[in-house]
C-alpha cells in the first residue's frame, strides 16, 4: 500500500474510534460526578471486575461454553441449510413442497420458540442447539437458493458440454459460483445465531455468556453485566472480521487480488 493509502486508512481508524472514546469519557465523567444514581458502575469498577473474572477463569469458561455451542449449532445448521437450499433450487417441485412452510417458519424469531423448546427438549444443551440451528438455518438457506438461482445459465451449458458429473457440477460450478452468496448467508447466519444463543442462555442455561449476564443481574453486579455485554459484542465483531478475511481469500477472483 502506498503512503497516501496508509494515511487514509489511519484517518478512517481514528474516525471509527472517536465515538466509543467519547462514550467512554462521558460515562467516566457521569459516574465520577455523581450521575447514574449510584447504580451505574464507574469504568474503574468494570476494569476491576474484568480482572477478577479473568483471574477466576469464570469469563473464559463462559466464553468457551458459548463458543462451543455456537460452533456445534452453526456446523449442523450449515450442513442442513446448504443441501436443502441446493435441492430447493434444483428441483422446483421439492421447492414448491417445502418453501411455503419454510417461509412461515422464517417469520418467527428463534427466541419465540425458546419456551416450547424448554418444555419439549428440557433445559439442557438440546434447547440451545435448537435455537442456534433455527437462527442460522434461514439466512443460509435463503442465500443458498439465491446463489443457485443467480448462476448464469450459460455456465450450465458449459457443464453439459464438458460432461460434468454430479460431483463436478457441485465442486466446479455450483459451490464456487454461489460462493459470494453462500458466504453472505453464512455470515448472516452466524451473527443471527450468536444473538439468539445469548437470548437462549439467558432463559435456559446455567453457563455461557448469556447466563453470566443474568447471574450478574440477580446479584446486582452491573459491572459484570457490562463485561458480558461487551464480550458478546467483541466476539461478534471477531466473527465478522473472520468472514471478511475468508471472503477476501475465497473470492479473490472477483477483484483480481489472488495470491500467486
Amino acid at each position: 500500500m502506498d503512503k497516501g493509502g496508509r494515511t487514509q486508512k489511519f484517518q478512517g481508524f481514528l474516525r471509527g474510534i472517536a465515538l466509543p472514546l467519547l462514550a467512554l469519557i462521558c460515562w467516566g465523567l457521569a459516574t465520577t460526578q455523581g450521575f447514574g444514581g449510584g447504580i451505574l458502575p464507574t469504568p474503574k469498577d468494570v476494569v476491576t471486575a474484568f480482572g477478577r473474572l479473568l483471574a477466576t477463569k469464570e469469563l473464559q469458561t463462559h466464553i468457551q461454553i458459548s463458543l462451543f455451542r455456537i460452533g456445534q449449532g452453526f456446523f449442523l445448521a450449515t450442513g442442513l441449510a446448504i443441501p436443502i437450499g441446493i435441492l430447493v433450487a434444483s428441483f422446483p417441485r421439492f421447492g414448491q413442497t417445502v418453501l411455503p412452510t419454510l417461509e412461515f417458519l422464517r417469520q418467527i424469531p428463534p427466541v419465540a420458540w425458546i419456551p416450547v423448546f424448554i418444555l419439549v427438549l428440557g433445559i439442557g444443551e438440546a434447547t440451545k442447539l435448537a435455537v442456534i440451528i433455527y437462527a442460522a438455518f434461514f439466512p443460509i438457506l435463503v442465500n443458498t437458493i439465491l446463489g443457485m438461482t443467480q448462476i448464469d445459465h450459460r455456465f450450465w451449458e458449459v457443464a453439459r458440454l464438458l460432461q460434468f458429473s454430479r460431483r463436478e457440477t457441485l465442486r466446479e460450478l455450483i459451490l464456487p459460483a454461489a460462493a459470494p452468496s453462500l458466504i453472505a448467508g453464512l455470515r448472516l447466519g452466524l451473527s443471527n445465531s450468536w444473538r439468539a444463543l445469548v437470548a437462549a442462555e439467558m432463559l435456559a442455561a446455567f453457563s455461557g455468556l448469556g447466563y453470566m449476564i443474568m447471574a450478574a443481574r440477580s446479584l446486582v453486579r452491573m459491572d459484570e453485566m457490562f463485561i458480558g455485554i461487551a464480550v458478546i459484542g467483541v466476539l461478534g465483531l471477531l466473527f465478522d472480521w473472520g468472514w471478511k478475511v475468508l471472503e477476501k481469500h475465497l473470492l479473490c477472483w472477483q477483484n483480481r487480488s489472488c495470491d500467486r
Binding site: R154, F155, L161, Q163, L173, L251, R256
Partner: protein
C-alpha cells in the same frame, strides 16, 4: 461457382466417419407463452468430415439454433441429427462448442478452466497438467496458466475457450460467432489460428458468422440459411486455395459473386 450441395474437398467421405455431420429434415419450434416460434424447418444438410463450413444468414434465422442442435444442447422438434453415423441425443465429447462469449469460469485459473475440458481428468495429475500446457501452447497462452479469466483480454479469453473445447478432442467443433466480439486485428489473428488448428487436426468445423470475408477466408463451404423459419437456401463451395488472402483479385471476385447471390 456452382450451387451444388455438399461438394466440399472431401465429398467422398462416408457417414460413419467421426466428423461427419448429417442434419436430416430437422425442424425446431420454441414455445413462447401461447405463441409458437418456428426457428427451423425442413432443414437438410450434410457436412463431410474435415470440412470447414460457415453458416450465414440474417439475424434470427436460426443459425445458432442449428449449432445448438448439433451440439446436443437442444433437441430438434422434427427430424434427426447424426454425427459420425450416431444419432445426437445430447452433448458428447465428439462435439465441442465455443460461443460468442468465452464462458470461462471466472473463479478458476486459465489452466484449471482448460483442465475441466479433459474427458478423463483426475486420473493422472501430471499427465493432465502436461496436456493442459500443450493446449495452452497451442493457443499461445502458456505464460497465462495461473492467470484468472478476469485478467485476460477478450481475444485471450476466447483462445482459452478454444483450448478448453479442444481438450475434449472433439471431431466436430461448433463455433457460434466466437470472433464476433473481438477487435479487427485480434479477429484476423484468431482467424489464422482457427485455420491452423483446423489444418493440423482431424476436425470438422461448423461456424456461424455475420462476416462474409471471414466466411470466404475460412470455409470450404458456405451454407446460406433462409429467413425464419430457417432452412438451407443454398450451399456454396469455396474453391479458393489456402492460405487465402482477402486482398487478391480472386478473393474479391468470389466476394462479388457471393454478394450478388445473397442480394
Amino acid at each position: 461457382m456452382r450451387n451444388t450441395s455438399c461438394v466440399g474437398k472431401t465429398a467422398h467421405v462416408i457417414g460413419k466417419e467421426p466428423g461427419f455431420v448429417e442434419v436430416i429434415n430437422v425442424g425446431k419450434r420454441f414455445g413462447m407463452g401461447t405463441r409458437v416460434l418456428e426457428a427451423l424447418t425442413d432443414l437438410d444438410l450434410i457436412i463431410p468430415a474435415g470440412d470447414f463450413v460457415t453458416i450465414i444468414g440474417q439475424s434470427g434465422c436460426g443459425k445458432t439454433t442449428l449449432l445448438r442442435l448439433i451440439a446436443g444442447l437442444d433437441h430438434p422438434s422434427e427430424g434427426q441429427i447424426k454425427v459420425g453415423g450416431k444419432l445426437v441425443q445430447g452433448t458428447g465429447w465428439d462435439r465441442g462448442m465455443i460461443f460468442q462469449e468465452p464462458r470461462l469460469f471466472p473463479w478458476a485459473t486459465v489452466a484449471h478452466n482448460v483442465d475441466l475440458g479433459l474427458p478423463d481428468r483426475g486420473q493422472d495429475q501430471q499427465a493432465d497438467q502436461d496436456r493442459v500446457m500443450a493446449l495452452l501452447r497451442l493457443v499461445g497462452l502458456e505464460d497465462f496458466a495461473i492467470a484468472y479469466p478476469g485478467e485476460l483480454s477478450g481475444g485471450m479469453a476466447q483462445r482459452v475457450a478454444l483450448a478448453r473445447a479442444l481438450a475434449g478432442s472433439p471431431k466436430v467443433l461448433l463455433l457460434d460467432e466466437p470472433l464476433g466480439a473481438l477487435d479487427a486485428v485480434t479477429r484476423m489473428r484468431m482467424q489464422n489460428e482457427l485455420l491452423r488448428i483446423w489444418q493440423t487436426r482431424a476436425l470438422t468445423m461448423v461456424a456461424v458468422t455475420h462476416d462474409l470475408d471471414e466466411a470466404i477466408l475460412l470455409s470450404t463451404q458456405i451454407v446460406v440459411l433462409s429467413e425464419r423459419p430457417g432452412t438451407v437456401r443454398r450451399v456454396i463451395p469455396v474453391d479458393l486455395p489456402y492460405p487465402r488472402d482477402r486482398t487478391t483479385l480472386e478473393f474479391n471476385v468470389f466476394r462479388q459473386e457471393l454478394v450478388g447471390m445473397l442480394a
